[in-house]
Symmetry: C2
Subunit: 559 residues, 2 copies
């Protein structure tokens, strides 16, 4: 069945996640009866989404067009590109998932935690072409902060759609080179539309090479007298290898802490990304056999996550590692927006326990971004030379700035499309238009529940978090038409009730008298009316006394 | 009565707020029967303090030693230095408050909102000496991001205690010069102990002059085709004057939005800090008589505060100002840690409505800090040349780094004291020791309540915010020893109950059966036991079904 949004000869391109946000990346290319999905990510909730574990895209459109789906192809193994796979598979039948290298391992790992969910995962290789009836998918290697990152080309009868994935350009990478030739060839042959990573669009620079960081870490290591404690992103396997090499160069043994870091080192060694002579790694118990200057502690916690290894070391609750004098803690990372508070807390605790702390700064290059700055985005535009341009991966201002960059680099004004999730770009070889939109709201996951937390529940959580609640139970004797005993008042998060017996008594008396009056006034017991009146009465009384607005939760029971 | 902490001939110096944190600054200098208090600030709560409006110091020590208090002296008019005054005055009798210039106006303004509270406020002048029996207080002018900022000298029989207040060094200030001569003279004559602002201790630089920002803003203004919309801190009166001058230079009329900004312009004009020819300011209604390039909109909201003028302009709810094409919004500010999320949201909304946005960056100097960087801290140390050093105003790492800086600048190792709030430094002309501590916990203000929100209530709010609550009311007939009717279950912030009738029924049945069993088992009705069992039963059942842990609030009523 032809969809209602774009025409039969048009190619539809849209995002279910990743536009106007950093996270839950998911892009769809559709032509006639074929759909190719690029990536299936999750997003981690911001502070306003109280109690939410993950956010995923709305899969409704894919459910309804299930028969068209040919494949899900994965650009690389970060959570915002693969984390949604288990949730997607619960809702939508995906015939084949294609991924490469480390992403394959990470997806398998993830699926083990969702043992009931079936999946068909294939490894693609760099020069593969996956052909369907109308569409064909191919790949080009890029640089990013995880190995095996690829751009995706979807060839359609109207022209090629190129999706960069996350990328930077690193001319002296610690892993493989990006495939400049393939990108240039795509550009020469003609690209209909480029979807390009905008995360670094505001950064007015060419990002530093991973090799620079490597040099800098080695220099820092050579000046540390005591133990070197290094926290970084577990997924940044190249970085982990740099830290291992710096340790070997300065004759340090390495102890690894934090589950995801332990897994990185294990998987990285299996796949050959992590190389270290036998005996480089030691267990926690063996550390006492070495002097402080012979030890590197490699751990998770670079974002101040409360239960990560470094946070537990900092707050003194780590079972195996206590801060020692002359310990130097290196954050080989940069703060993700929103995490600065937690990171500062960790740093303060580390200082308080006597450690020295080095963070990424112009003076100490302990990190570089995996996302290209404006100069790299320009290079991509110059190589690919697209007719139409759709900035992806980023908050609105990043997309907007990237669109300006594209125009400066030769995309014709009017051919750039800064879209929202769900907006459908309908393309032919000669035209592009926003044809309509598909559902693309946020779906919240809290525990086992998918999508059962809506705005009402979140609003309630917000009120509860600010002023707590007051629960009042009124029992009414139906025959005698009067309140039985005294109303019971319980509160949580409001004031400490044991110290407020007077307030509770006053509230309870007021409610009982008022409810008895209502019971006299009407022939039937109007529970709804009683509840409303109790809420109003308590709201007014409590606000006057305390200037607070706890949630009032009345229970009226007739016996 | 002599206190129990330090000896009669010693001078006690301690902080009730401001160490290990940025905010609620309050320092005490005590000698025999005399106490001088320096500043009385509030702190704005971080995200973990759910629903708290302000944090103030614990005033217990001052209450107990009320008779000794001679004066409260104020360094400058920022909230983290004067915001605690009304709360302090409710607990402690303060014979005299001394402040200068704009701080006097701001304190008067603040006290109008607390009309029941009496206070005696005096203006000190730059060269005043306020003498008590043993102590004498004098002042030296500094540079900071609000006019009339001073350092405080407390002369004691053991030597001089110097407190810098917040400061930077600005050799080309837009207001008055700092009093270098006085600082140098203090140093030559001998200073026993320096308490110095550490906020900028990590910044490895000399901060830029306010004049640089002024030049930069003028240049930006001259390139703006449409309206210039500028958001900055209302208290930064010099900055406001720079923006006014840039507007006049580019022939723009100025409309002011946001209550605190309106007050700044009003008070600033009265006191002569803000100078503009008649007709420079126009009301919102008059704007339609001018072209966009003839208009500056000066407003609050530089920190993304949800209800500030700029935020309302950005989200489209401002009654008078709608974003127009070619509007350029300038953030003449830098993000306070924790506010980046709100600021990003505002910027994205502004872009979405078609505005251009300029934030402070190396390429556009729209802001400079009011706190000196490491080079300025060194200059202060070199001028004052203290024997002992106590870094103040800052998180622990800032204090620690500042202490290192002091040693590098000539303070003898061992003479630096990185302390916590409440720690008492006992000084004589020849010695310094940490003698003990006074109570200095955080006191939370929520609505009208001072200190009635403790850790239990905050913990409850945290649980409520993440998983909501489930309230279950069990009514027991005492004579018949059985549950009356069905237990009533109500929830908030958990799942949307109207869609979950099955879950509620199942829970209610389980509870009723279980409670009836307990009632059969014992001779008396054990309410505590029933509650505990109900909580355990529901916790287990709900976690298995939903992987959530709502707060269970059981009410057992016997009739």
């Amino acid at each position: 069945m032809q969809n209602q949004i774009f025409k039969k000869h048009e190619v539809g391109v849209f995002a279910l996640g990743g536009l106007g946000e950093v996270g839950k990346n998911m892009y769809v290319v559709e032509y006639q009866n074929e759909i190719v999905i690029i990536d299936a990510g999750v997003m981690f909730p911001d502070d306003s989404l109280l109690g939410i574990d993950y956010v995923i895209p709305d899969y409704t459109y894919l459910q309804k067009n299930q028969d068209k789906i040919k494949a899900l192809v994965i650009t690389h193994g970060h959570e915002d590109h693969i984390g949604g796979i288990p949730w997607l598979l619960r809702h939508v039948k995906i015939p084949k998932i294609y991924a490469n290298g480390i992403a394959v391992g990470l997806i398998k790992n993830k699926m083990q935690e969702h043992s009931g969910v079936k999946y068909d995962l294939y490894e693609f290789f760099e020069n593969d072409i996956i052909r369907f009836k109308h569409l064909a998918v191919s790949f080009f290697r890029t640089n990013h902060s995880i190995p095996d990152s690829f751009g995706i080309v979807v060839k359609t009868p109207q022209g090629k759609i190129v999706h960069t994935g996350d990328f930077k350009f690193d001319f002296t990478p610690t892993g493989k080179d990006a495939d400049y030739a393939k990108m240039a060839r795509l550009g020469s042959e003609g690209v209909l539309c480029l979807l390009s990573d905008s995360t670094g669009a505001e950064v007015d620079a060419f990002t530093k090479s991973e090799s620079t960081v490597s040099e800098s870490i080695k220099e820092i290591f050579s000046n540390i007298e005591g133990r070197a404690v290094v926290a970084t992103f577990a997924s940044n396997i190249h970085r982990v290898q740099q830290i291992i090499e710096a340790s070997i160069a300065t004759k340090r043994k390495i102890a690894v802490f934090g589950r995801s870091m332990e897994r990185t080192v294990e998987v990285g060694q299996e796949l050959g990304y992590i190389k270290a002579p036998h005996g480089t790694f030691v267990g926690a118990r063996a550390l006492r056999h070495f002097s402080p200057h012979e030890i590197t502690i490699l751990c998770t916690g670079s974002q101040g996550e409360p239960f990560a290894a470094l946070s537990r070391i900092a707050n003194g609750t780590h079972r195996q590692i206590k801060v020692q004098p002359k310990d130097t803690v290196i954050f080989s990372s940069s703060p993700i927006p929103g995490n600065q508070g937690g990171i500062n807390k960790t740093i303060n605790q580390l200082f308080k326990r006597g450690a020295n702390v080095i963070t990424h700064s112009p003076l100490s290059d302990t990190h570089t971004s995996g996302h290209g700055g404006s100069e790299e985005l320009k290079l991509m535009l110059k190589l690919i030379k697209p007719k139409y341009f759709m900035p992806i991966h980023g908050e609105y201002r990043m997309l907007k700035i990237h669109a300006r960059t594209a125009i400066a680099c030769g995309v014709k004004k009017g051919n750039e499309f800064v879209l929202d999730n769900g907006d459908v770009l309908a393309l032919t070889s000669k035209s592009a238009r926003v044809a309509g939109s598909v559902p693309a709201e946020n779906i919240y996951i809290d525990g086992k529940g998918i999508g059962d937390i809506g705005s009402i529940v979140l609003k309630d959580r917000k009120i509860l978090s600010e002023d707590g609640l007051l629960n009042i139970v009124v029992t009414i004797n139906e025959k005698e038409r009067r309140v039985v005993g005294n109303s019971v008042i319980v509160s949580r998060g409001f004031v400490y009730m044991k110290e407020q017996t007077e307030l509770t008594k006053a509230l309870s008396n007021q409610v009982d008298n008022h409810v008895n009056e209502i019971l006299q006034k009407y022939d039937t017991i109007k529970t709804g009316l009683i509840k409303r009146d109790v809420i109003r009465l308590l709201n007014d009384y409590i606000y006057t006394k305390t200037e607070r607005n706890p949630m009032i939760l009345p229970v009226v029971k007739t016996i």
